[in-house]
């Protein structure tokens, strides 16, 4: 029993170390490829379209309703202490500093991160990646780099939309549902939200974009075992990206606070 447990512990440790090592080396290989070869601009723009533009509607919807519900919840609490005039600032700060970047990243992970893994994974199991290798095409340059660059660059833009529509959602609830003063909502945002808040939120979004594409491409490239393998890799990609985004968010918040 004890030997079996030690065996399990040893195997798990080796697995974790192997995966972490592979994962890190994968990013290093991507950075090396980016530094030593030409960026494929057309592929990068095409990925920006697929990851960014095609995700815009769900990001806007998420932002809008998050802003609306945040305004409603904040009102319930603030009404008790007579702080209704601060709802605008709370909604805006919440969306700009935290909810905008995190929810956008999670939505894009579910929509585009999973698609990245599924697409590359299918290419692996149907030998398309092997075909590229035998045709002397750098697989990292062709498949991985455009996705990582596109995702890292486009996430801040998507987050801007999420923040903006979230604030609009909050405004709609405050002004038209709760019948609060629109001036209070606007002035509290102007008084308490700073440019550094927006900058911090966008920096977080770029890091989340890197994480979701890094995990997505890595999981795709290490897919094995046929159609079931693609399904497993896709699920693992979404779960791992989401968890990494949430954990990184805490450390990024700490780091940005200290800067």
């Amino acid at each position: 029993m004890i030997i079996r447990f030690i065996n399990f512990l040893g195997k798990s440790t080796i697995n974790i170390c192997t995966t972490t090592g592979e994962f890190t080396l994968f990013l290093l290989e991507a950075i090396k490829t980016l530094c030593t070869s030409k960026l494929k601009f057309s592929k990068t723009f095409s990925q920006m379209d697929r990851i960014g533009v095609e995700s815009l509607s769900i990001v806007i919807l998420t932002g809008l309703f998050t802003g609306m519900v945040l305004a409603l919840q904040t009102y319930i609490g603030f009404q008790r202490v007579g702080g209704e005039q601060f709802i605008g600032a709370i909604v805006a700060l919440g969306l700009i500093r935290e909810l905008g970047p995190v929810l956008t990243a999670l939505m894009v992970t579910g929509r585009a991160g999973s698609a990245i893994t599924a697409e590359i994974g299918t290419m692996i199991i149907t030998e398309q990646v092997d075909a590229l290798t035998t045709l002397r095409i750098n697989v990292f340059q062709y498949l991985v780099i455009p996705r990582i660059i596109a995702s890292t660059l486009i996430l801040p833009f998507l987050t801007l939309f999420s923040m903006f529509f979230g604030i609009i959602g909050g405004y709609i609830v405050c002004v038209y549902v709760l019948e609060l003063s629109p001036e209070d909502y606007e002035s509290s945002i102007r008084n308490y939200v700073e440019i550094s808040d927006i900058k911090g939120g966008l920096q977080k979004a770029a890091v989340f974009g890197l994480i979701l594409s890094w995990v997505g491409t890595y999981k795709g490239m290490y897919t094995h075992g046929g159609a079931r393998g693609v399904g497993i890799a896709t699920t693992q990609s979404v779960v791992a990206s989401s968890i990494l985004i949430l954990i990184t968010n805490y450390f990024l918040t700490k780091l940005l606070e200290q800067l």
Binding site: E127, Q128, A131, L132, L135, I137
Partner: protein, 263 residues
């Protein structure tokens, strides 16, 4: 069909490959002659595709050497291996066409990635498509719009674009009707003779024997027979005798053996 004493193009020495305590190839020794067609036969699951992928360096062997034109490719790093791929073409079992690209882009992908213009690439792609008897109508079709035989021919055309010295075929006629399979065989034979290509073919199809120069039988991770294709039906080697006639009794057992050791 075969020439006398051709030079060895690919020399495989004691090739062994292990996957998670399971030895697939257990000491393959084989000299593949230059400019001829060598067919590797064996039961499904014997590791023929693994052997082919080791020859081209897509799978690293656990032990052994593969010497191509005097260079041991098992010792090459990725950059050197990439250079070595210039000599190779690989026709995949299910063609492995990139499904997001049309036929023109699939066949010309190497040239597109080298930055050549559409005008430069188009005549080359058309020439290669003509070699595999595909008309210009297929140029802008996607793989999903092609039949199995057409996809294999596009795969072959894509391979020819780099003018390889060696083409490896992984079961090129599997899943095709006899007429299309015959056409593919004729094409392979024609390519090999016309362009003096060294061909290594994985096949189960006895029809392909008449196009081959040499035949090797892989069984239990080792080459059990290697000889001239034209004398194969007269061979008294018990493995080849049983295999090509599809006899249930003989040294080849019904079950594929899984070897925990390489010996």
């Amino acid at each position: 069909m075969s020439t006398k004493n051709p030079k060895t193009k690919i020399k495989i020495i004691d090739l062994q490959k292990e996957f998670e305590n399971h030895w697939v190839t257990r000491g393959v020794n084989l000299d593949i002659p230059e400019g001829l067609m060598t067919i590797i036969i064996g039961r499904s699951g014997e590791g023929k595709s693994v052997l082919l992928k080791q020859i081209i360096g897509l799978i690293k062997p656990t032990f052994g050497n593969i010497i191509i034109d005097g260079i041991d490719i098992t010792t090459l790093n990725n950059k050197e291996l990439n250079e070595c791929y210039k000599k190779f073409g690989y026709v995949f079992q299910f063609a492995a066409l990139l499904d997001s690209l049309n036929v023109f882009e699939n066949v010309g992908i190497t040239l597109i990635e080298q930055g050549k213009s559409h005008e430069e690439i188009l005549p080359i792609v058309k020439e290669k498509l003509a070699l595999v008897q595909l008309s210009e109508d297929t140029l802008y079709k996607y793989p999903s719009e092609l039949s199995g035989g057409m996809r294999k021919r596009v795969g072959l055309a894509r391979t020819l674009i780099t003018n390889p010295e060696i083409i490896l075929y992984d079961e090129p006629t599997t899943g095709l009707d006899p007429i299309t399979a015959h056409l593919i065989h004729e094409l392979m034979f024609d390519m090999q003779k016309r362009l003096n290509i060294t061909s290594v073919v994985i096949s189960h199809d006895t029809e392909s024997f008449k196009y081959a120069d040499k035949i090797a039988l892989l069984h239990e991770g080792k080459i059990q027979y290697f000889g001239d294709a034209k004398t194969i039906w007269e061979s008294d080697n018990p493995y080849i005798y049983q295999f090509i006639r599809g006899l249930p009794e003989g040294p080849i057992t019904k079950e594929i053996a899984y070897f925990k050791d390489k010996a």
